[in-house]
């Protein structure tokens, strides 16, 4: 079953290109390989998948008889993704009234999709309050991390540090600092930099560098900023040159996008900082 899933996931990029009608490469049914993949995909007994046929997915959700917080939540996301914010937001609010667990999803939609940080914080706080003694996780980040990002985007950097620290410190204390996702350290470091505390930022970035699985242009970029704040321009320049080198090395490997969508650093950002 896992193999099937992997095969299907492997189809996704090709099908995404097919969606966009990329000429010269894969088009719908352009190759027998893709046709065979479609035949394989169709072995699945599930009728709809997120990402395949969004209108079909929405129609299915519209006709579903079980009105649960989760179905309303999925429907809300489908409407928001299509740009129907009025319907999507109304469904999102309704989903939280039916099922308070949907506070987290509502918070995520407001934070990441609609960039409405006040509302995001309100819902994430409500979700966090459901289990006051426990920092819930969505499998990747604890809720405190999302709250920290909302606070940071509102310009509340001290509150952001406090929220980021809840997730980082509890995990570091329980299992060790090496088990914390390096992006959490980067996010806290950025908040420290905004508070003009480069020493603390640098400590976090050093830990982030240890935890990242490969050399990280993102970490090096913010290390350079920390060095600049500390009045160490030579170190800053070296870090930026390293960041540029590893960005280019990543590009050779086919990695062309920023490594963290919450803290996007691009090659242009590195170049601009080098020329600054």
């Amino acid at each position: 079953m896992k193999t099937i899933l992997l095969v299907l996931l492997g189809c996704l990029p090709g099908l995404a290109y097919a969606q966009r009608g990329r000429p010269g490469l894969i088009r719908p049914g352009d190759s027998t390989v893709e046709l065979a993949l479609l035949l394989t995909l169709n072995r699945n007994t599930q009728a709809v998948y997120w990402g395949f046929g969004p209108k079909k997915m929405l129609a299915r959700l519209d006709t579903t008889t079980a009105v649960t917080g989760e179905t309303l939540s999925r429907k809300a996301m489908a409407y928001v993704a299509q740009g129907d914010y009025e319907t999507g937001v109304a469904l999102l609010e309704k989903s939280t009234q039916i099922d308070p667990k949907q506070y987290r999803n509502a918070g995520s939609v407001y934070l990441y999709t609609l960039h409405d940080y006040d509302r995001a914080l309100r819902y994430l706080n409500a979700f966090d309050a459901l289990t006051p003694d426990f920092d819930d996780t969505d499998g990747i980040y604890p809720v405190s991390y999302h709250k920290g990002l909302a606070q940071r985007n509102l310009g509340h950097h001290a509150e952001a540090v406090r929220e980021f620290s809840i997730g980082i410190d509890s995990l570091a204390k329980k299992h060790g600092a090496e088990w914390v996702n390096y992006k959490q350290y980067v996010s806290r470091a950025i908040a420290y930099l905004a508070l003009q505390q480069p020493d603390k930022a640098l400590t976090d970035l050093e830990q982030a560098a240890k935890n990242a699985t490969s050399e990280s242009p993102l970490v090096l970029f913010y290390q350079a900023r920390a060095y600049r704040q500390m009045g160490r321009p030579t170190d800053a320049r070296r870090a930026l040159q390293d960041a540029q080198f590893f960005w280019q090395a990543n590009r050779v490997k086919g990695i062309t996008q920023p490594e963290d969508t919450n803290n996007p650093v691009t090659e242009e950002d590195i170049e601009a900082e080098l020329n600054n």
Binding site: R20, G21, P28, S31, Q46, G53, K55, E268
Partner: protein, 367 residues
Amino acid sequence: MKTVQSDELRTSWRKPIPVLGAIWCLLMAFLAPAQPLTREALTGRWIGVAIEYDLDRVCPLVAYMDLRADSTWQLGRLDNADEPRTGTWSLSGAVLRLDTTHYAPGLVTLQGNQLRIGQVIPLTFRRFRAVPMDKQVVWQRLAGQVWQSDRVEYLFAADGRVGLRNRQARTQTAHYAQLLELDGSVFLLIRGSAGQQSGDVRECWQVVSNEVGTIRLVGSSGPDSCHETLRWVRALGSGEPLGPTGFQTCANCMRANFGLFSVKPATLRKTTALLRQQYKPVDAPDATGLIRVSFVQNCQGERGPLQFQEYSADYKRRLFDKRITDQLRTLINSQLPGSLFSDPDRQYDIDVSLTIRLSNGQITDVF
């Protein structure tokens, strides 16, 4: 959702058949009882009809599939653009196996001469009936002539170009015609777009009769196979325009799924910077809320019409002062180059949606 010219014509592609014919096809599709899957019923050659990507996105399936009596299976492109895939097939009870893929009972249905496989992105095939014909004779009849169905005029140039003109709206899109042979039968493909001869297929028909003034076709009409009749209209005028009358996507099977793909962070940052630099705040009351702008950009960097969805800060539909939306329209069309959204190494049609958050007339965020 989006209204680009190709969609108007696609409507005609989906329903190009005479009304009675359409009713007949639908009746046959609904009334034909689902047959039990048997080895005898499945054995033979099947011609692809459609790939159902979504409710509004049904593309021709330009393929054939052989389920042979000796249990070998072959899947190939009608235009031989790729090597066919081969393997074996079997039927155990109601479970069909194609090569290594097993389909649970109910996932493959046979209705009349139509075979439907799957539910996620269903593929439909029709049973192949060979109608021997001479490809050259068919082309001689089409080339340099104008033919029409009930809704579409086909302007066939002698060099292979073909213009598809919506008879009602008088809008036109540009494509290429290609004739193929399979088992002595002739297939007419309408594919590509202006300057893109090898583009994807928009229409795929088998020519089943070729009489003076009338050409009968069998092919796809949406997810079901159906019949179509082309009637001769006139000779194509010399210099008659065959190009598109408006914006046309390069891919025929392109459907905008605004919001499914997000704009890359670097592009978003440049877009934000450009809009913030160039936008002049408008002195209008209640200029707070969100404006979502969506458009399609084809593989050549040409942009389709911009669509606006406008909301208040609490996400209720509203309309902003026209001076604000007009200014944004102008800025997006004049200041955001096509290259900003497309990847130079990967030129394909893209759908772009940007949400601009305004607070008291100022752009505060673009995402």
